[in-house]
Point group: C2
Chain length 387, copies 2
């Protein structure tokens, strides 16, 4: 939605009114996505907009602390926080209220989140967040399921030319640790990798440099990347990551041979809280990411890698998404003149018309139909075009 001057004057920056057509387009798209999730047994939950701060910002929620509005609760005299991300709420629900449900737990959600500041890329401060979480299973089958579900849901709402970029954000740090690099060296190396700076990697990579340069160069189409990765001698700690990536890719190809998959073997940014195989969803027609997901541990304390339940999931970014989802055909509006029986208009609605009633007699019903943006009108008992 482009910000118009009037909206800018009335509303705080990054907050806007979604007007007719756009609002129903968004709501329809959200419900169609959720219907796809439901088809694979993902059950909808709806956490509240506000929670106690210490609950909302614990574990993986801590990442959003700077972006979270606080509210004092007059009832409990405790600080509350307005959610800036729904994912930690779903993990909380799964690991507390649904802790006795059989594993894996499959959950999905759609809702609004609020952030203190927009980013340079995204000025918005309120987002519609839509996603799924699959809590409990360790198997690559779980990684494949959520990726395939994301792809299927995006295809179902009409997003063209999809591709999935896989990464394993833990692999680089495991390689570095396996080769005996210190924390400081690893941080420098990360910065060089984030810049895709091969010379920098060579300069600060020490014993890991050759391996990481190969990984960096091999990133791209899945076939080539996996061939390069397969030929490398990796430290034992990174073996699990390679095996999971290989197996997930095999499952994706078996299920959907025509899916475009790329692999970034050194990706890390934006996945700081992921604990294993992760992915980003793109469309050739969209300018940014459509969504992102990956492994994490639900209910884990910060920095306790083996804590919590193994989980994966994804979040779709509705703002980017809606720019590439084709609008569903708007229902046709028929002007129903003043005095028309309620039941007669009801019959038209049952046939798929939107009936726009005249609330007083109109001297020129054709002009009145046009004024009310109706392409048709009811006259002499039948629907007639007004153009």
């Amino acid at each position: 939605m482009p910000a118009d001057p009037m909206s800018t004057a009335l509303l705080p920056a990054g907050l806007h009114d979604v007007l007719p057509n756009e609002a129903s387009h968004e709501a329809d798209t959200v419900e169609r996505l959720l219907a796809e999730f439901a088809g694979l047994g993902y059950q909808r939950v709806k956490p509240p907009l506000v929670e106690f701060e210490d609950s909302l910002l614990s574990g993986s929620g801590a990442a959003m602390a700077q972006q979270t509005f606080r509210l004092m609760d007059p009832l409990s005299q405790r600080m509350m926080a307005v959610r800036a991300d729904i994912t930690p709420q779903i993990a909380r629900i799964a690991t507390t209220r649904l802790k006795n449900e059989p594993r894996p737990v499959r959950l999905c959600y759609a809702g609004q989140v609020l952030r203190v500041k927009g980013s340079q890329l995204r000025q918005e401060r309120q987002f519609t967040q839509v996603g799924v979480e699959l809590i409990g299973p360790l198997q690559p089958e779980a990684d494949a399921e959520v990726i395939l579900l994301a792809v299927q849901a995006l295809e179902a709402v009409g997003v063209p030319h999809l591709s999935v970029d896989l990464c394993v954000p833990t692999m680089v740090s495991r390689i570095c640790r396996g080769l005996g690099l210190g924390e400081e060296e690893t941080r420098h190396l990360r910065a060089a990798l984030d810049r895709k700076d091969a010379a920098g990697v060579a300069a600060v990579g020490g014993p890991a440099a050759p391996l990481l340069q190969t990984l960096m160069a091999a990133s791209g189409p899945a076939g080539r990347a996996m061939q390069a990765l397969g030929a490398l001698a990796l430290p034992e700690a990174a073996e699990t990551d390679r095996r999971r990536l290989t197996e997930t890719l095999r499952l994706l190809r078996a299920a959907k041979p025509d899916l475009t998959v790329t692999i970034d073997l050194v990706e890390h940014r934006g996945f700081e809280y992921q604990t294993g195989l992760s992915f980003t969803l793109f469309s050739r027609d969209a300018s940014g990411e459509l969504g992102q997901g990956g492994r994490y541990r639900a209910g884990a304390r910060p920095d306790a890698e083996e804590d919590g339940e193994p989980s994966t999931g994804f979040t779709l970014y509705m703002d980017t998404l809606l720019r590439v989802v084709p609008a569903t055909q708007a229902a046709r509006r028929v002007f129903v003149p003043h005095g028309t029986d309620w039941a007669v208009a009801g019959k038209l609605r049952a046939e798929g018309w939107v009936t726009v009633a005249g609330l007083s007699p109109a001297a020129d019903p054709v002009a009145e139909a046009r004024r009310l943006q109706c392409g048709h009108r009811l006259a002499d008992g039948s629907v007639q075009p007004v153009d």
Copy 2:
């Protein structure tokens, strides 16, 4: 949703997680209601959760000032407010961003609101608000349209035994003014009427007492109430209210002869911001009100009765409503064992099944299907019951 001890411990009072089944029941119901609104040309809009305080709490929004959470906006250094009511936002959109759209403007919405405290009756502090606004028209046809739309939408989601209670909250004050009562006397009289205290009305009503006692006694089934009202000599100022009520009732009966309509001729509480014909929706099966609506002036300054645009609309209370909306039949879950082709499961989904995939081989597929709450499983290429 009953509060369980765990939820109480984790979340602030009046805020809760909506869990599987309940959450999809709510979302489905909301979308079905909005589809009914769309059928009569009501277009969906989606205002933000947060606005500048002075915008959100101006005009009719001022009523919610005590119930509204404030947030400081770090970008503008101005105070923002989290909406406690969506209605003023829709009026703002209609009278500013959509001010050049042809009248009447028909808008609808669904969204979350947050309140500082729950009431004794409703402990919840977050509500799902769903409703419509019809902005621009003065005619009783507009009053009838929104009432009939509310009834039709509630019937469409399966609410049984509906009734509508009409009132004209301006009538008593117009009668009092017409008969020369002062502000103080009118206030005492209001209190007596609110208590349905006929002796009190006699004691403080002065010249208005006989008229108001008759109105109080006549409240009830529409036919009897209108007969009593028709026989009264009203001050000129109250004549418009009587005419509008009579005409609206005639339109309701013509459209829907079997609708149960009652009339409260002295009702006032809960309609402090209404400027004319108002209504409350009930079901014999529900313990509270399902929704409420009525006349107001969109974009009016407080206490400027003739300011703004004549409007009407209603809000449905989803918490009460969901208790009487029958759950839609849950889709049947079929367990799809590990290794099943993605396409095979997709075919089952196309037939209406929810497919729950096994993520690893199961020694006893029947037991595994049961554990995952599936009534069926895929075996030997066909769907089989597991019980």
